[in-house]
């Protein structure tokens, strides 16, 4: 037979048993901070556990006395109230003991803090820039051949809208992850282009606010190859919850090959700018660029959100002079971020062509990459 209290809880158990497996995440009950894969993250985990156990000990003593007294010194058991108050010895003891515990805690905490602040002698510098709502990574190169790319959420909107099943790394996956070599000290130079963001990867023990006008340093030295995921942790507007960080820590050789691949791709884009594309090519590529960069505000149907994000369909810009349209995409304005840095001239030409010919905007014109290059040089 179940006790009365257990029987009362049965409907709750039944409810949970029905809802949770149905949603497919029945077994996940994460309880604690992970140890991570760097010396810093392990030190932080150690501090976390140490202070946690001090709290547990203090809690057991204080709550123990409290529950004892609540049970024994109750009027219904005939307890007669004592009338003592103030005791200097006791008050000194409960002031001094906490001070001692705090000093014991402060020593290792200070050591770890010194460790975290030691950003000298890095093997590799990566400039991390927060944008609404994506990250840009610049691999700073001594010879000036920097590798630069944007990293955007790759979870499809259908998963967010619950029309498709959610993947394992739902909201923690990007199109272009950051690659770093294992065993090397990597320094992150963290800043932002618009509002404040915060770059966090729990397994690395690195969290740094990305603040416009500041370049702050953080560093990591990953010991174990793997994929490590994190998120923006400073409220940065509408899609704050949709700008994850994904770090691939790989062996040096794999890292070198990846970097070379990135450089080749950059050269290919430089070539593509000189080409003339057909309307069909521009329109199709533009549709893809729109879905990735524009639709979160202007919406997939181009109708925008009344009062917040203007519509593309029938808009003054998208049906007006081409130059104004390119200008708005490249330089932003009226709350819209500039895209001139993040999109290649090919992408900008494609998305402008798309916007001028989709959603019932039948302008019939097409914009070539070279037009965008000329605009940027002429402005």
């Amino acid at each position: 037979m179940l006790g009365k209290s257990k029987r009362l809880l049965l409907p709750l158990y039944a409810l949970l048993a029905v809802i949770m497996p149905a949603a497919g995440w029945a077994s996940e009950w994460p309880l604690n901070m992970t140890e991570g894969v760097t010396s810093v993250s392990r030190e932080i985990h150690g501090l976390h556990m140490q202070i946690f156990w001090w709290c547990v000990i203090i809690g057991v003593v204080v709550f123990g006395v409290m529950f004892y007294t609540m049970f024994v010194h109750r009027k219904s058991r005939g307890a007669k109230p004592a009338h003592f108050h103030e005791n200097v010895t006791l008050e000194l003891i409960w002031t001094i003991i906490p001070v001692i515990i705090l000093v014991i805690m402060a020593v290792p905490a200070t050591k770890t803090l010194v460790h975290i602040y030691d950003t000298d002698d890095a093997d590799l510098d990566i400039l991390v820039t927060g944008y609404q709502w994506k990250w840009k990574y610049d691999y700073l190169d001594d010879n000036g051949e920097n590798v630069t790319f944007f990293s955007l959420l790759s979870t499809p909107p259908s998963q967010i809208a619950n029309t498709e099943e959610k993947s394992e790394h739902y909201l923690l996956e990007v199109d272009e992850p950051v690659y770093i070599p294992v065993g090397k000290k990597v320094r992150f130079l963290v800043t932002a282009a618009d509002v404040i963001h915060s770059w966090w990867v729990p397994a690395l023990g690195v969290k740094r606010d990305a603040i416009p006008g500041y370049i702050h340093e953080a560093w990591t030295k990953v010991e174990v190859p793997g994929v490590y995921r994190g998120q923006c942790t400073e409220l940065c507007g509408k899609d704050h919850g949709f700008m994850p960080v994904v770090v691939h820590a790989v062996e040096q050789a794999e890292y070198d090959a990846w970097l070379e691949g990135k450089r080749e791709k950059a050269r290919a884009i430089a070539e593509a700018v000189k080409q003339t594309l057909t309307f069909q090519q521009l329109y199709e590529q533009g549709e893809a660029v729109y879905g990735k960069n524009c639709a979160s505000c202007h919406q997939a149907d181009g109708k925008g959100v009344a009062g917040v994000f203007p519509a593309i369909a029938g808009s003054k810009i998208a049906t007006g002079p081409v130059r104004e349209h390119i200008n708005r995409v490249v330089n932003g304005g009226v709350g819209m971020p500039p895209f001139g840095e993040q999109l290649s001239p090919v992408d900008i030409a494609a998305v402008v062509t798309f916007q001028r010919n989709a959603f019932g905007n039948n302008m019939g014109d097409q914009i070539q990459p070279i037009d965008v290059v000329n605009f940027k040089q002429g402005q």
Partner: protein
């Protein structure tokens, strides 16, 4: 004209009576508590499952912002001012507050401030969506147009708080009955005296920071705009110079309430009266030296980081003194567990748990992992809900019989307590786990890894909300048809407020009582 209240609406509009104004503050706070609660339940409903179901991300951000603002400035602070209005004059043997007309004004501008704040929900572009901490430049360059109304509302709330604080200080320092020396004042009066000084010190800082925002938005200045030579981090320093003492503004009067209730139901005097006074003063002074612990990840220099870590850890000492005092007060008492006592005991236990997570957050390196995750959300809700809200609830049950002359229903009161206690822990305890597992705060959607804890939190929040509807019913029922209360009300009660009849007459202590 006979002594006694006017009739009809003019009684409430033009009153200068501390009891009437206290009553209006309490009802206003109760209304705001429900409004802020509805915002919270919208947040929890969206977070019930991964994926977007109920609201858009932009509206979600409006809800987190409005929930925080309404609860802090609309529910908690006015409730404590209301308690001070009702109780401080009666506790020190004064006939009324020192500045009764200003008292009327400081209440009556509040409904306008909150009407303006709430109206932003219906404006084009929506309500403020940048969090209750409104970090620039998200709240300036990138803010919706309604931010201007938000700034004006904050100005009015600040003016109201400052006037309330001046009034309380003037009352306590000038209007004590003969023989009521400072060190004989009830702790609730002491904690409010110190809180009032905190308010006067920091509300102008808040007014200053929102004015700088206003200048940036409308007059082309660049206080917080890096592109114009300004500094977004300056905003955070100024905001938290207000914000951290503000945290203590919301908890010090709670310490006073609990220090009144626990001795009553333990039937034993408070263990260390003077050490409680000194601990309260120490906490207030320290509160001005720790603001940057909210900013451990903004990239302060090492020495700044270290100093703020040590100063923050030091707060644990006077806070510990308080908790040990309450426990020692219960020790060898003769305890009964009426509803106010249940809420007070829960306060001591759960506030201490919030204090523990606060100590963990003080460790700067560990804060690099905790900061802006649900661990922080768990922490500050553990100090604010069982801290501020439970103490206000305890105070209402404790003094309601004195206010309206009638008792509440004890069985219903205990039911309310257990529902609220279970709901609260079910809501906020899982947030420690989701935070440690890596869930950032202020996100409308999340990875399924965090789904189980979020579902429990959401279930708990609706239970907690339902418990508060019961609370409203209990209060109304007591006022309308409760059993008559005695003058002393509680067997173990001490203090001047229990020497007057229940309900307290419209004017009390028109001739000062004798205090020995």
């Amino acid at each position: 004209m006979a002594h006694g209240p006017a009739h009809g609406l003019s009684r409430w509009l033009f009153t200068t009576n501390h009891k009437d104004i206290g009553t209006m503050y309490m009802w206003f706070s109760f209304a705001m508590f429900f409004l802020g609660g509805i915002f919270a339940l919208i947040i929890r409903a969206e977070l019930f499952e991964p994926g977007l179901q109920i609201v858009e991300p932009n509206f979600f951000n409006q809800m987190t912002t409005m929930h925080g603002l309404v609860m802090v400035f609309g529910a908690v602070m006015p409730a404590f001012v209301g308690l001070a209005n009702w109780m401080v004059p009666m506790m020190i043997g004064a006939p009324d507050m020192a500045l009764p007309r200003m008292n009327n004004l400081s209440f009556w501008i509040l409904p306008f401030a909150f009407a303006m704040l709430a109206s932003t929900l219906f404006m084009q572009g929506g309500a403020p969506n940048f969090g209750w901490t409104f970090y620039a430049p998200l709240s300036t360059t990138y803010a919706p147009p309604s931010v201007t109304f938000f700034i004006f509302a904050i100005h009015i709330m600040g003016a109201s708080s400052i006037m309330g604080a001046i009034n309380i200080i003037a009352t306590i320092l000038n209007m004590r009955a003969p023989g009521m020396t400072l060190m004989k004042m009830p702790l609730f009066v002491w904690t409010w005296l110190i809180t009032a000084y905190l308010l006067i010190a920091v509300m102008p800082v808040l007014a200053g920071v929102v004015t700088m925002m206003l200048m940036d938005i409308h007059f082309g200045t660049s206080f917080f705009n890096a592109a114009g030579g300004g500094d977004p981090v300056l905003f955070q320093h100024v905001f938290w110079f207000f914000g951290h003492p503000e945290v203590y503004i919301m908890i010090l009067p709670a310490f006073g309430v609990v220090s009144a209730i626990i001795p009553t139901f333990a039937r034993k005097p408070l263990f260390g009266y003077s050490s409680m006074v000194y601990a309260t003063a120490s906490i207030a002074i320290l509160s001005f030296m720790v603001w940057a612990h909210h900013m451990f990840t903004v990239g302060m220099p090492f020495i700044g980081e270290w100093v703020f870590m040590i100063a923050t850890m030091a707060i644990a000492v006077p806070t510990g003194v308080k908790v040990f005092n309450w426990v020692t007060t219960m020790y060898k008492g003769s305890m009964t567990f009426e509803t106010p006592m249940l809420f007070s005991i829960a306060f001591v236990i759960l506030f201490t748990i919030g204090g523990f997570s606060g100590l963990m957050l003080a460790i700067a390196p560990a804060d690099f992992q905790y900061h802006d995750t649900y661990f922080v959300v768990a922490h500050f809700h553990y100090v604010l809900v069982p801290g501020a809200i439970f103490s206000i609830t305890a105070a209402v049950y404790y003094w309601l019989p004195k206010w309206c002359g009638r008792m509440y229903d004890e069985t219903l009161g205990k039911t309310h307590f257990w529902l609220a206690f279970i709901g609260l822990n079910l809501t906020f305890f899982p947030m420690h786990f989701s935070g440690l597992a890596g869930m950032p705060r202020r996100i409308p959607d999340y990875n399924p890894l965090f789904a189980n804890w979020n579902m429990l939190s959401s279930i708990g929040s609706f239970l907690f909300g339902a418990a508060q509807v019961l609370f409203l019913y209990i209060v109304i029922r007591a006022i309308v048809s409760g059993r008559k209360a005695t003058d002393r009300v509680w067997e173990g009660s001490h203090g001047l407020e229990w020497t007057v009849p229940s309900p307290a007459p419209y004017h009390t202590f028109t001739t000062p009582p004798k205090v020995d």
